[in-house]
């Protein structure tokens, strides 16, 4: 019996050693090739327009390499004001979004979990409703003093950013045991403010950063509403100035894109370095 068993094992091992290896060896290169093709196609799709934009921004009218468009950008009429307006609108939008959405999302998770679906549906509406309809309604219904202020745009941008902000926060809150953490903090004597500041918000940091970056990107790229509300933000300035100098406006777009990347990278690396520091402090790394 033992001999038979041993022989069977050897046969089985030999079969197993030979059989699966052949297809794996055949499949792997094919899989790699397809993966490479897909990556190249996707890369080309995303990178070619950026390359074309960069090339155009770094050329002079004769088609030679030049930084003239980038250098001229700050001195072009209206650019400074547009840039400053976009920054102010971004800041107000991000702050308003956080002040409104963070407590709301936490409240829904803690106290009204059954209405999460309804809230999700409501937060999708700004994507479904075209911005032109939204701004037409806003301009027709808001009081004059508010319509005269550029910060009306911030109020509308808060609505536009809501789907992204809500989803980021919702994902962040779903990843922690919110109810138990809150109850633990409360039972230890933590007030609601202390619980938010010391327990919930630090554990929501990645979600908060993500929500902020998405809001920021939305404000910096929004054209329709700003244009219809007759405020010259960066995107509106780009479109208006395009008639005068294409190189400069493309340089402005590229700088905006690079600026967003830098900002995103900074925020992500800040988050990572904080996590690493806390691990190093404890000997975890």
């Amino acid at each position: 019996m033992a001999t038979i068993g041993a022989a069977m094992s050897a046969e089985f091992m030999m079969e197993e050693a030979l059989a699966p290896q052949a297809p794996v060896n055949r499949r792997r290169p094919r899989f790699r090739t397809w993966r490479l093709i897909v990556m190249l196609l996707a890369g080309a799709y995303f990178l070619l327009p950026i390359y074309a934009g960069l090339k155009f921004a770094l050329e002079n009218d004769a088609g030679h390499f030049s930084f003239f468009a980038v250098k001229a950008l700050p001195t072009e009429p209206g650019f400074g004001a547009a840039f400053w307006l976009s920054m102010r609108l971004s800041l107000v939008t991000v702050v308003l979004s956080m002040v409104l959405m963070v407590p709301t999302t936490i409240y829904v998770h803690l106290r009204l979990p059954k209405v999460r679906r309804v809230v999700e549906f409501i937060t999708i509406l700004p994507i479904v409703i075209p911005p032109i309809i939204l701004i037409t309604g806003v301009l027709g219904s808001y009081p004059l003093w508010l319509k005269a202020s550029p910060y009306l745009l911030s109020l509308v941008y808060v609505i536009l950013a809501m789907p992204f902000v809500y989803r980021s926060l919702d994902a962040g809150l779903s990843s922690i045991d919110l109810k138990t953490l809150v109850e633990a903090s409360r039972s230890l004597g933590g007030s609601w403010f202390a619980t938010m500041r010391r327990v919930i918000l630090p554990n929501l940091r990645p979600a908060l950063l993500s929500a902020m970056v998405l809001s920021l990107a939305l404000v910096l790229g929004e054209f329709t509403m700003a244009s219809l509300d007759l405020w010259e933000t960066i995107p509106v300035w780009i479109v208006n100035f395009q008639q005068q100098d294409g190189h400069v406006t493309v340089a402005a777009s590229m700088l905006g894109l690079i600026g967003s990347w830098v900002l995103l990278t900074l925020i992500v690396s800040l988050d990572r370095s904080q996590s690493r520091r806390s691990l190093r402090k404890t000997g975890g790394l």
Binding site: E183, A184, T282
Partner: protein, 373 residues
């Protein structure tokens, strides 16, 4: 392990008397969720320093009691009194109750020492005082060498010990334990069980412990409160609860009981032809068809070639051997001393005999005819 624990506890400045247990009174608590009545007139009195376990199946309302006591849930009616003061409307933040959760619930963004310090800092204690006290508590739970680590760097057992230290740090009037051991493996659970009990006795802190594990409840608590459908079935010491269950639910939920259909008459019941006195318990439907609930040790057996019962299963459990004896359509579990049970083979004809001084009788759940012996 025990020696190490004792030494560290003696060295610590956290000693008995630091925390004073409170008298807790739960009075006619009612809590409903829609149509479900989670608590149905629940009343319980807990003495200062007492360790009470709330035991029951899932959905019986034991966690609701704990949450009402902690202030996380408001009862529809009824009162919660601590040291005679009605705290029903006091927020969880101001109740001074330390709670340990099933899911550890340590703050992931804080190190172990900061977790333990949290409650002290919320009470506006100075940073150095808080740190010093948190250090003592970590010593008490044998985790002083882990103080700078973060929760995700600790094992489940370590995390729960930190949670215990954190709950004790605020010197709570009542310690609430919500199934704190159920997420741990068997070995760690046994160690932590001893540690919790030892700390509770040393600090003389009133403790309410929720569990569905009867072994935990019986081994740790001074009194066990068995719950079912939002009300108390029986509250008693573990020994009384096991030996003298007053309801069919308790007899079947705590320990093992065989259910034997019987005929009752007055204060007596006939079990396998043997007359036995009825134990005082839940109201019966009067004389007639009922069930007797008997533990394996309530039975003895006579080996009898003419006996109508025969052994169908036999399990060696160390000092005792558990037999399953089939009598007609009824199966009963019988414990015998292993030295006596060694010679009993499967199929051996026997006669089960009730050796308990009285028998718990409950309304019959299934109308099965009694096989006369």
């Amino acid at each position: 392990m025990t020696q190490m624990k004792e030494t560290s506890m003696t060295d610590s400045s956290i000693t008995a008397g630091t925390t004073k247990g409170a008298q807790v009174e739960l009075d006619q608590l009612v809590r409903t969720y829609g149509q479900v009545r989670a608590l149905d007139g629940f009343s319980l009195s807990i003495a200062p320093g007492e360790f009470v376990a709330l035991l029951g199946p899932s959905g019986c309302g034991k966690t609701t009691v704990l949450r009402v006591l902690a202030g996380f849930e408001q009862p529809d009616s009824g009162r919660v009194l601590v040291d005679g003061n009605d705290i029903s409307d006091v927020s969880a933040q101001k109740r001074d109750m330390g709670m340990v959760f099933q899911s550890y619930s340590l703050f992931p963004n804080m190190s172990v020492i900061n977790n333990v310090m949290f409650g002290l800092r919320m009470r506006h204690q100075g940073r150095s005082d808080s740190r010093s006290k948190a250090g003592q508590l970590l010593e008490l739970v044998e985790l002083s060498d882990q103080s700078t680590k973060y929760p995700h760097q600790l094992s489940g057992g370590q995390q729960q010990r930190v949670a215990l230290a954190r709950a004790l740090a605020i010197e709570p009037r009542v310690l609430l334990l919500d199934e704190p051991l159920s997420a741990l493996d068997a070995k760690v659970r046994a160690e932590l069980r001893d540690q919790i009990r030892s700390l509770q006795q040393r600090l003389a802190i009133t403790t309410v412990f929720v569990t569905h594990d009867q072994e935990e409840a019986l081994s740790m608590a001074d009194r066990v409160c068995v719950m079912s459908s939002g009300h108390i079935e029986q509250t008693a010491t573990p020994a009384v609860l096991y030996a003298r269950p007053t309801t069919a639910f308790v007899a079947q939920f705590v320990g093992i009981s065989s259910r034997v259909p019987v005929e009752t008459s007055g204060n007596e019941v006939v079990v396998f032809g043997q007359r036995c006195p009825i134990r005082t318990g839940e109201a019966l439907s009067g004389s007639g068809h009922n069930d007797a609930l008997l533990r394996p040790e309530d039975f003895g057996i006579d080996i009898d070639p003419n006996g109508k019962g025969f052994v169908t299963h036999k399990s060696f459990l160390g000092a005792i051997t558990r037999l399953i004896v089939q009598v007609g359509e009824i199966s009963v579990r019988v414990d015998v001393r292993s030295d006596q049970g060694a010679d009993i083979e499967l199929g051996t004809h026997v006669t089960p005999k009730v050796i308990a001084r009285d028998v718990l009788v409950a309304p019959r759940v299934a109308a099965a005819p009694v096989e006369p012996l």
